[in-house]
Amino acid sequence: MSVSGPQADTPTEVESPTTDQGSQIRGMSPRQLAVSRFRRDTGSMIAGGVVLLFMLLAVLAPILTKMKILRPYTFNSDKLDVNNGSVPKGALGGISWSHPFGLTPGTGTDVMSRLIMGMTFSISIALLAALLTVALGTVIGIIAGSSGKWVDAIIGRIIDMTLSFPQTLMLLALSSTLIYQLERLGVPKGNFARATYLILVLAAFGWPSFARIVRGQVLSLREREFVEAAHVFGASQARIWFKEMLPNLWAPILVYFTLTMPAYISAEAALSFLGVGVKPPTPTLGNILSDATTYYDSDFAYFIIPAFVLATVVVSFNLLGDGLRDALDPKADR
């Protein structure tokens, strides 16, 4: 059940009962209302389109690389100026028709290919981490909201404590020991273990904020008539959680997920700069950008371009998330 999918014509949940002038007033389900609100919001529609484009590129990048249309790992050392610190020949970091975003100084790889391939890795890491964050937050939030006082209090304390840890520092400081342990547990060494570490630790520190939101929603949901009715009919706890409550949580889940993605894409970049995360030659938006910072003087175009690509990805995800929130819950504070 997705919120933004194509809608059937027959209204499923009529909010206000149709009166005698019913032929003029057509009932609309909350979902239909949200979709029509979103469609009217031009900015968010554009942001959504850009996000879709980036996702498509991210999915296609490995195929395009196999087909040799993208060449993120090919060294064009003949196009580098060896006498000048291996900076690309030509103006603006070697921008040309064959290399629209120029070449990487030092290695001579095509920057555009690396950025698109980097998007694949960055978006995959952010996507998996965001999925895990939202899943953990939802399950724990539902349990906290619908269980008794004690369970709720214990989960509340765990949430408080997790949020009190200095996140960036923990991510940074734990990397040496935890990546080593992941490798010992059988996760393939090197970049695979580093990516796994990022995903797990981002989710481990990310779930509490969402669990709080879900808990709040569940607290008000469980007083609603349909949940009481389900109780009266003798529905099991699992049924109430997953069939009665979960469908009402899709809106916050979707919004939070969309806003967590750009946060994690940025986090990957920040951690790359600090030396945690996937290492070259495997490209990620973060490690390209942190490599680019060393060339701010000699190759300004290479310094600027990856940052703008990353910012475009982040901004479009953020705008999409804001648009979804406006559409799904017009009363939510911004």
């Binding site: 970049a269 940052a307 910012a311």
Partner: protein, 338 residues
């Protein structure tokens, strides 16, 4: 009130103790990894044994945690192994309370290593905090009062776009243009007030502070704007306007009041975090603050320093939480503390 504060402090201390245990389990549950992390990549077996003994890594995590807590309260001696202390008394270092551990890499007490970095982080953080709070709230109010106009769009749009760039990129860009190319400020460096006076201190840390401002301000603009918009439709605002109060009073006294509680919450937490050092900003500008120390400790596998910093920062955040909750009682007359 007093009872409330005491209760919150006790809960806070209990939380901190549990968090210290979690930190120890996370960092030290695998002995080999801990030794390797403290020793680096090229470690001889003899070094490994020595490190394990010096730090007490050969003991169970809970025992190490207990010794750490004991060190905080009554102090302790390093190296950890009593036999080693007896056999080579020249190695013994006294660590008076509150002892946060001993760094083998820096051959100094963790507390002493941190001591010089704290003024740097606190200086940058406090300047940044004042700027972003004032600017963020002001821009938020301006945006809300001009809702839907180009002023609103420019404010909201630009904060969103600037926020999307990574901190280290913004920091470097400021460094390149404002300090190197245009020379509007001196090359950023930390000069303590005692050494260079307030003006030099301020100019030296202006760019790192602005970098932090850019990163943190966006949230304040958005939140202030949202709350001001939300309250502007309330009946009491209409009443205030209707009885002829000047716009300044309506906004300052009535509208802004409602936005104050969430702003204080956010500001308290952010201040606690940023006081504990800004790893990226400090690395970019080469400021020897807590954040940069943490980055160096991580890259040099200096576990005791990492643990010390994590514990210290957690304490900051817990304390900030308590202060924020107490502040509610003063800001919002509807909140009463029991």
């Amino acid at each position: 009130m007093f009872a409330y504060v005491v209760r919150r402090l006790l809960i806070g201390i209990a939380m901190l103790i549990v968090m210290t245990l979690i930190t120890f389990v996370l960092f030290l549950n695998n002995k080999e990894a801990a030794v390797l992390a403290s020793c680096g990549k090229n470690c001889t077996p003899a070094q490994k044994v020595e490190i394990a003994k010096t730090f007490g890594y050969d003991q169970p995590v809970v025992v190490q945690w207990g010794k750490f807590l004991k060190g905080v309260v009554v102090g302790r001696e390093f190296p950890d192994d009593p036999a080693l202390r007896k056999s080579s008394p020249q190695l013994v270092t006294q660590c008076p309370p509150p002892c946060l551990g001993y760094s083998y890499k820096s051959a100094a007490l963790v507390r002493d290593v941190m001591k010089d970095t704290i003024p740097v982080s606190v200086s940058v953080a406090s300047v940044a905090f004042v700027i972003w709070l004032v600017l963020g709230v002001l821009l938020g109010i301006i945006a809300a009062l001009n809702r839907g106009t180009w002023v609103d769009k420019i404010i909201v749009g630009s904060t969103l776009v600037i926020f999307a760039f990574p901190t280290f990129f913004i920091g470097l860009l400021l460094y390149i243009f404002i300090a190197l190319k245009f020379g509007w400020v001196p090359i950023p460096a930390y000069i303590s007030i005692a050494d260079g006076g307030i003006f030099n201190w301020f100019m030296g840390l202006l760019l790192p502070a602005i970098t932090l401002v850019v990163f943190y301000m966006a949230g304040y603009v958005r939140m202030t704007r949202a709350f001001v918009l939300e309250t502007s439709t309330e009946d009491y605002i209409r009443t205030a306007k209707a009885k002829g109060l000047p716009a300044r009073t309506v906004i300052g006294k009535h509208t802004f009041r409602a936005a104050l509680t969430p702003i204080v919450t956010m500001a308290g937490m952010d201040l606690a975090l940023v006081l504990g050092g800004a790893p990226i900003t400090e690395s970019v500008f080469n400021f020897n603050g807590l954040g940069k120390l943490a980055v160096e400790a991580s890259t040099q596998y200096d576990l005791p320093i990492n643990i010390g910093i994590v514990v210290l920062l957690s304490a900051f955040v817990i304390l900030a939480n308590i202060v924020v909750d107490i502040a509610y009682a003063f800001i919002d007359p509807r909140v009463s503390v029991k």
